[in-house]
Every structure is written in structure tokens, then in C-alpha cells.
């Protein structure tokens, strides 16, 4: 046995190189006998896991694109639903109270608006607990401009504050300097929504003679020219009337979740 080992160790190099050549020749000249088996083994053991990974990644990519599309559709549907509900309410109000008709006259049908999507790339808090500004990446073909209303699938988010070639900055409702002319959906009475760092989103200037209760939906009134009427701002969560105060203290839970801003949509008016 030792002579065999010695023989192999002496000719180890030639033996190995010979084996490589022989194996290669077997694969070349065996036709369909050996090489498909070897290739099949390699494919099933080495290629298949990566192939599965690739197909899963492709599925995920497709799902992500579909998700974006669905999110846009959801936002559009939410805006349209909100407008329909607002139109229904306005219609009811117009029928029932002639004196309010003139105040509802400026309602803008949101079917006249096109939704341009924009992915949030960054948010800035400026020392506040909630973000006050969001930067969205512009997409090709959008037509963003200053003061354009911005929504997500839940409701109003803010307005465009500035625009560059690649990005747009959105002033969020949570910015203490932001103001939105608002209306309570049930009573149709108006106020101004602003954000106070201490108490959150509030509805100000809501007269003590007005009617408001917890659970009422607060909508944009359309006054002021920036936001169209009927966009959902939030829900009334607390109402109080301090003694001697001519206005209610109304706290509003925003419809949009400002802690998880992801995809926003700007409303671009289109010609009727």
C-alpha cells in the first residue's frame, strides 16, 4: 500500500491535472449521458435557492408597485367619498335651510382635481413632537406649485410650501403656523383649525352659540382659497366651554397619521 501512496505523492500534480482533463473530456464527449446530470445537480443545489430568492424579490417588487397604485386609488376613493358625503350633507342643508345655501355655494367638486403622488423622503420636527414639514420626491409629469393642498388616504395633510426641481416641501397641519378654514360636518358651522404644541390640533373661533359634539367630523370649508371644501381634517375628541368664554375649546384628532407619513398626494385642479 505504501508504494501506491508514494507513487501518487510523486505524481500528485500530474495525477490531479490528468483528472481534470479526463473529467472535462468525459463531460464533453459523453453527450447527453453525464453533463445534463451534473448540470442538473448544480442547478438544483446551487442555482435553485438564488432563483427562489430572485422570484420572491420580483414578487415583492410587484407587490410594492401594486401597493403604491392601491394607495393612490384609496386616497382618490377617500377624497371622492369625502366629497360625496360633503355634497350629500350640503344638499341636505340646502334643502332644509335656505339661508345656508349661499354659504355652501362655493363648494368645489373634487372630481375636478387630479391626484399627483409623491413619496415622503424626509420629515422635519423643528423641535416639536410631531413632524411639521415633510419633503416629498417629485414624480415626472406632476405639476406641483405653492399652496397646493396635500392629502393622504385618510384626509388632509397640509399644503405645499415650496417646490424645487426634485422635491417639494409640505407644510403639515401640525405646523403651529398652519391655519385651515374648517367646518363641522353635522352643524355646518365654521371655525379655524390650528395646531397648538400643548394640546394638539384644535378648532378655534367656534362660537359658543354653535352646535358641536364629540365624534363630529371636521372638514375644510373651502374658505381662504387654499383648501377645497370637504377634505376631512379630523374628528372632534373633546369639547368644553369655559365660563364666560365666547368660543368653545375644541380638540380634534387628525384623520391623517402624522407619525407614519409615507405617500402623499397633491390635488391639482383640472379643467372641467
Amino acid at each position: 500500500m505504501s508504494w501506491l501512496r508514494g507513487y501518487f505523492s510523486r505524481f500528485e500534480r500530474d495525477f490531479n491535472l490528468g483528472l481534470i482533463v479526463i473529467f472535462s473530456m468525459v463531460l464533453i464527449f459523453s453527450g447527453k449521458a453525464v453533463s445534463p446530470v451534473v448540470s442538473g445537480l448544480i442547478t438544483s443545489s446551487l442555482y435553485k435557492p438564488f432563483d427562489l430568492l430572485k422570484s420572491h424579490l420580483l414578487v415583492l417588487k410587484g407587490a410594492s408597485l401594486e401597493n403604491d397604485s392601491l394607495r393612490q386609488q384609496l386616497a382618490r376613493a377617500a377624497v371622492e367619498l369625502s366629497v360625496c358625503q360633503e355634497t350629500k350633507r350640503a344638499d341636505y342643508v340646502w334643502r332644509s335651510a335656505q339661508d345656508r345655501l349661499s354659504r355652501q355655494g362655493e363648494l368645489v367638486p373634487l372630481s375636478r382635481y387630479r391626484l399627483s403622488p409623491g413619496r415622503v423622503t424626509s420629515v422635519s420636527h423643528d423641535g416639536h413632537s410631531l413632524p411639521v414639514r415633510a419633503t416629498i420626491a417629485r414624480t415626472r409629469g406632476d405639476s406641483l406649485y405653492r399652496d397646493q393642498p396635500v392629502v393622504d388616504q385618510s384626509g388632509l395633510v397640509g399644503r405645499i410650501e415650496s417646490v424645487t426641481n426634485a422635491y417639494a416641501t409640505v407644510q403639515l397641519l401640525t405646523d403651529p403656523s398652519s391655519r385651515v378654514a374648517a367646518r363641522v360636518s353635522s352643524s355646518r358651522e365654521m371655525g379655524i383649525v390650528k395646531y397648538l404644541p400643548a394640546s394638539g390640533l384644535v378648532l378655534e373661533n367656534f362660537l359658543a352659540q354653535g352646535t358641536i359634539k364629540v365624534g363630529d367630523t371636521v372638514l375644510s370649508s373651502g374658505l381662504g382659497g387654499v383648501y377645497p371644501a370637504g377634505l376631512v381634517i379630523g374628528t372632534v375628541v373633546h369639547v368644553s366651554l369655559p365660563k364666560g368664554n365666547p368660543f368653545y375649546n375644541v380638540e380634534v384628532e387628525p384623520a391623517a397619521n402624522f407619525r407614519s407619513l409615507e405617500a402623499l398626494f397633491s390635488l391639482t385642479p383640472v379643467a372641467p
Partner: protein
């Protein structure tokens, strides 16, 4: 067994490159020839038989999708590893530029032979459009790997830049 682990990782890397990474790293017609690169790198640092055997197995993995050519690919890459080792030995290559030149020629030869095997109709056109840019791209990658292997680029040096 422990000595085999790096080579198993290289083989897995080649498989990963064949299935996914190749398309992601491709710049127009220039594709990284990872199998050629790894075989040549091993030939630069390891013994002759290791380079030849690794080339053989790398060839089998590269040509797994085309069983009829797997033997040729195995033979070509095995021969490439063996030749690169002897070029390194005979010319006593130490300089990174000389190694890069060996990689460029080796990858170009491998790409050209792969084109011959695939029965490319317009051979010279394919050489100019696919093989040459791919070889240059692979060589650039090899340059970076050599600089890292020779510790000319280290984490500390990169960190010091910033």
C-alpha cells in the same frame, strides 16, 4: 474541511452572480466575469492545483444552464487557473499593476473563448461590444480587490478620509 470553506463560498458567490448579481452589476453590455476573476485571483495567491481544481468546478457552475458546454467551460477555466499560476510563477509577479494586466488578459481570453463556445455569429463585433468592456469592468473590480488584499485600502484609511 475548513480549508474548503472559502472555496465553497466562492462557488456560492458565482452561483449568486449567475442567477441575480450579474444583471444587477451589468453596465450596458459590460458584465462582470466573476468566475474568471475568482479563478485568476486564486491563481495569484494559491498553489497550482488549487487554482486548476477551482477553475474546473467554477466552469461546471458557470455552465450549469448549458449542459452541452459544461465540459468545455470546466476545461477552459481549469486551464486558465493553471496558466495564470504559471505566468505568476515564471514572471514572479508582485506588482499590483502586473497582476491587473494578467487579470485583464485572462478575463479577455476567457470571454473570447466563451463567445467561441456559444457559437457567436459576429465574433469580432461581440468581442468589441461584450468581451472587451466586460474585461475592463472586471479588471477595474480586480484592481479594487487587489488594493484591499494588499492592504493598500483599509477601513482605517477610508475612515481617515472622512
Amino acid at each position: 474541511m475548513m480549508k474548503l470553506i472559502p472555496f465553497i463560498i466562492y462557488i456560492l458567490l458565482i452561483s449568486f452572480h449567475q442567477v441575480m448579481l450579474g444583471d444587477a452589476l451589468a453596465i450596458y453590455t459590460a458584465r462582470v466575469d466573476l468566475s474568471g476573476l475568482l479563478v485568476l485571483m486564486i491563481a495569484m495567491y494559491k498553489p497550482e492545483l488549487v487554482a486548476a481544481w477551482f477553475g474546473f468546478f467554477a466552469g461546471l457552475v458557470v455552465a450549469a444552464a448549458t449542459p452541452s458546454a459544461s465540459g468545455w467551460h470546466a476545461l477552459i477555466l481549469g486551464a486558465l487557473g493553471w496558466t495564470a499560476f504559471h505566468v505568476r510563477q515564471r514572471l514572479n509577479i508582485e506588482s499590483p499593476y502586473a497582476r491587473i494586466l494578467v487579470v485583464l488578459i485572462g478575463v479577455l481570453v476567457h470571454n473570447a473563448l466563451a463567445l467561441v463556445l456559444s457559437g457567436s455569429q459576429q465574433f469580432l463585433y461581440s468581442i468589441a461590444v461584450n468581451a472587451l468592456p466586460g474585461s475592463v469592468y472586471t479588471t477595474l473590480l480586480a484592481g479594487v480587490v487587489f488594493l484591499i488584499a494588499d492592504r493598500r485600502i483599509t477601513y482605517e484609511k477610508v475612515k481617515a478620509l472622512f
